[in-house]
Symmetry: C2
Subunit: 465 residues, 2 copies
């Protein structure tokens, strides 16, 4: 560049400086957020500790207590005005010994036995010391059971085998279309005299990993054992049954339901300088299933939320509104933390202008989806959509619908409930399995998520809704 | 649903049928494409074969020949009008024995030696039987070398260590900002008397995997060996140098440059029923680097393209325009296939209305980016953008810029050159390494890519540009 051009450029630069609008400031600040987190973010390190050193952390377990202490200590070392633990009641369920499940059948005059990859479903009872043995009846939906009745189900083991629909683009829709079998299958089968249930794992992947998850017994119906089996095993059994072969299964497991316990949400807060009564919450759930490391579900959401505070600290950002970072306890099997949080918040007449939950994994961010009470939604959503201009350069879009299990109890406060929406294609490969570990998480994807959430927090803080 | 409602629904359905527009037809057909590929797509199976059974397939190698035969046979079994092999000239380079690279230094009176994870860069020469030993000089860019001159570089081994910039949102930009060191580093260093070069691997990940890739010698400059080392090793050396420690390296490798050979593009075509002279090309490159399985780079692009034809066959879709599926040879180290294809196409006065290349991995699709000659671009891009209405429900956006190495030689035909744009966050974790294998590919992400490309092909076929 020669001298003359240099001068021209300088003039141009001065001109541009004068015409810098708030838009440019925001775009610049969001770029700063991304740069800070991509270069210096700590979320992957924290997640490594949470997933590998603390490990699986079902509410009420010693690991969950360790997770509470670890994140409390992380928050205490950040520049926040207050950090506290909030007590909540959680159920206590222990898996017990490794599940023993096999199937037995006759083929070409030979007796065949095959061990299955199985996991007891959360909150279910076990077979006790004596195994349950019975014939398997394959079904594809809850409704079928009522039609079949005790005549066909009494003394049998019901095998729910409706797969998640692979043609769904968003895998959460495929999950939603199949998970009733896992959640309600046991009691529906027990009503008709079944002895236990096996459920095809909730995943779109064809492999050997069983996926656990919550199961709920209906009051007044006999509790029976319920276990998930891997998709490979599910197909194997189904193929035998298609050939007209009678399949017998033997199940032995001994999970225990213990008395409820006290556990904690971990909360940290930066008080707003102008509108301290308007709270922007960012959170994930600290508990996970006991198998694996709860890396994507929901260690990722926890470290995303912690990274928001860390990045704001690094950028010396002092918010106008109150920013609260919440590690919810017991999302997986009871929602004790989310309910306790909302109860206390309502008691204190708090107002959450926006609550953002990250509970869909540490994958590349695609955007956010949000919801609210009908009467205020239209206005809030319109304002919210305006932020898309700032976020679309990062391939983020803002959609209607969704929120998060832990923040939904805040609905009555009539703010915006926002779900962080990462790419969903791989989520159910790991969900509730022993392979939901740190090596399933890509550091850059995780950091991009934290940067996306931090950017949204700053936009809401600056402009309100 | 009661009888009365059923009748009402029927009336509504009839009413809706009459008001179905072309828009609805398209939306429905795109949904069908996704469902077909997500449920019955073969691309993951084909990629498993290409990556694991055929393996790494550098142009001119026996594996590349196997890949030609495999994809020729796949295409021959599809419903296409013509399938053929198109000859092209390719350079032949062989890696030879495993590279031996170590560093030696003195610390606290002790001599220390550490083996490095290294890979010769493509098309480079070796040290021969006798190793090269010399002091390492760390530099961060090509320009620095000219300032340092022979005084500081003569007899030394230059270590290029400028990392890819992690703050770039699109990792290809970070790659573009660092790869000059790998491509041109050897000759630039040789000009000043350096004996060899080591280059920090082109990746944003911190690990032990060296990344190979093409290096180009400048005519008239002495050829010297050039190797990539892992990012962990690069940081290790850099830390020693920062402490003022003199680091000596020993390099032994013996790649060979053999005479050029003949290889092939593999091409299949469905003749258009109305506008056969308007060609829509969809392709990837069949060759890969010799290490690993070339799963993401670019087996994914090949099986994406094959799946387009497979899906159209399954859906009994007869195109109006000619659809051509091309497996290009020798993208990685010479572009022999892309150049031969364009040359013959131009000789035959062909017109590619659109050429779509998939060469950015088998990750979740984000959209497409396109380019063309200036004079026609504005009109074409405006028409092209109209397709976004159909594609945005699948989270796909259409952007300006980009294309693909193999299709760029078609630019003079003044059609649209389109690059398939999957999520880029993980691409350089695997790029040109021994871990670019099938287990780095998620089947659903791969299929989503094929569905996205098929949808775009159908839209261009139906509406033109």
């Amino acid at each position: 560049m020669n001298y003359k051009n240099k001068n021209l450029s300088l003039l141009l630069l001065i001109f541009l400086s004068f015409s810098l609008s708030a838009q440019d400031d925001e775009a610049f600040f969001i770029k700063e957020i991304y740069t800070t987190i991509l270069k210096e973010g700590k979320c992957y390190e924290w997640l490594t500790h949470l997933s590998e050193n603390v490990g699986g952390r079902l509410a009420g377990s010693p690991n969950a207590e360790n997770a509470v202490n670890y994140t409390y200590s992380l928050m205490s070392n950040m520049d926040m005005d207050t950090v506290w633990k909030q007590a909540c009641t959680v159920p206590v369920w222990e898996r017990g010994d490794k599940e023993e499940v096999n199937i037995k059948w006759w083929e070409d005059g030979l007796m065949m036995i095959k061990e299955l990859n199985a996991l007891s479903l959360g909150n279910t009872i076990g077979t006790g010391r004596k195994a349950i043995k019975a014939e398997i009846i394959e079904v594809f939906g809850l409704d079928t059971l009522d039609k079949m009745g005790p005549e066909k189900l009494e003394g049998k083991i019901v095998f729910f085998n409706r797969p998640m629909d692979p043609s769904q683009i968003r895998t959460f829709n495929a999950y939603g279309g199949a998970v009733d079998q896992r959640v309600f299958g046991a009691s529906r089968a027990a009503k008709h005299g079944a002895l236990a249930v096996l459920v095809r794992s909730m995943t779109l992947r064809q492999d050997d990993n069983p996926h656990t998850g919550v199961s709920v017994y209906t009051d007044g119906v006999k509790k029976i054992p319920a276990l998930a089996i891997s998709t490979n095993d599910a197909n194997f059994i189904s193929d035998l049954i298609k050939k007209g072969i009678k399949v017998e299964t033997k199940i032995k497991n001994n999970p225990r339901i213990l008395p409820d316990a006290v556990s904690y949400n971990v909360i940290g807060e930066i008080k707003g300088s102008e509108f301290p009564e308007e709270i922007i919450l960012v959170g994930g759930h600290l508990d996970s299933w006991d198998v694996g490391g709860g890396a994507h579900d929901d260690g990722a959401g926890c470290v995303h939320s912690l990274e928001v505070i860390n990045a704001l600290n690094k950028l010396n950002y002092r918010p106008k509104r109150t920013i609260r970072c919440v590690m919810f306890m017991n999302e997986e099997n009871g929602l004790g933390g989310g309910l306790a949080y909302a109860e206390e918040s309502n008691k204190n007449n708090e107002f959450h202008i926006a609550a953002i939950e990250s509970d869909a994994g540490g994958f590349t961010p695609r955007g956010f989806s949000c919801t609210s009470e009908d009467e205020v939604f239209k206005k809030l959503f319109t304002n919210f959509k305006a932020f898309e201009d700032f976020l679309s350069p990062y391939d983020l879009s803002l959609k209607q619908g969704g929120g998060g299990a832990d923040i939904n109890p805040l609905k009555s406060q009539k703010g915006l409930l926002i779900g962080f929406r990462p790419d969903s294609q791989r989520y159910f490969d790991y969900h509730h399995t022993s392979i939901d570990r740190i090596d399933a998480v890509n550091p850059r994807e995780l950091k991009m998520g934290a940067a996306a959430i931090t950017s949204l927090v700053v936009l809401i803080d600056k402009y309100g809704l």
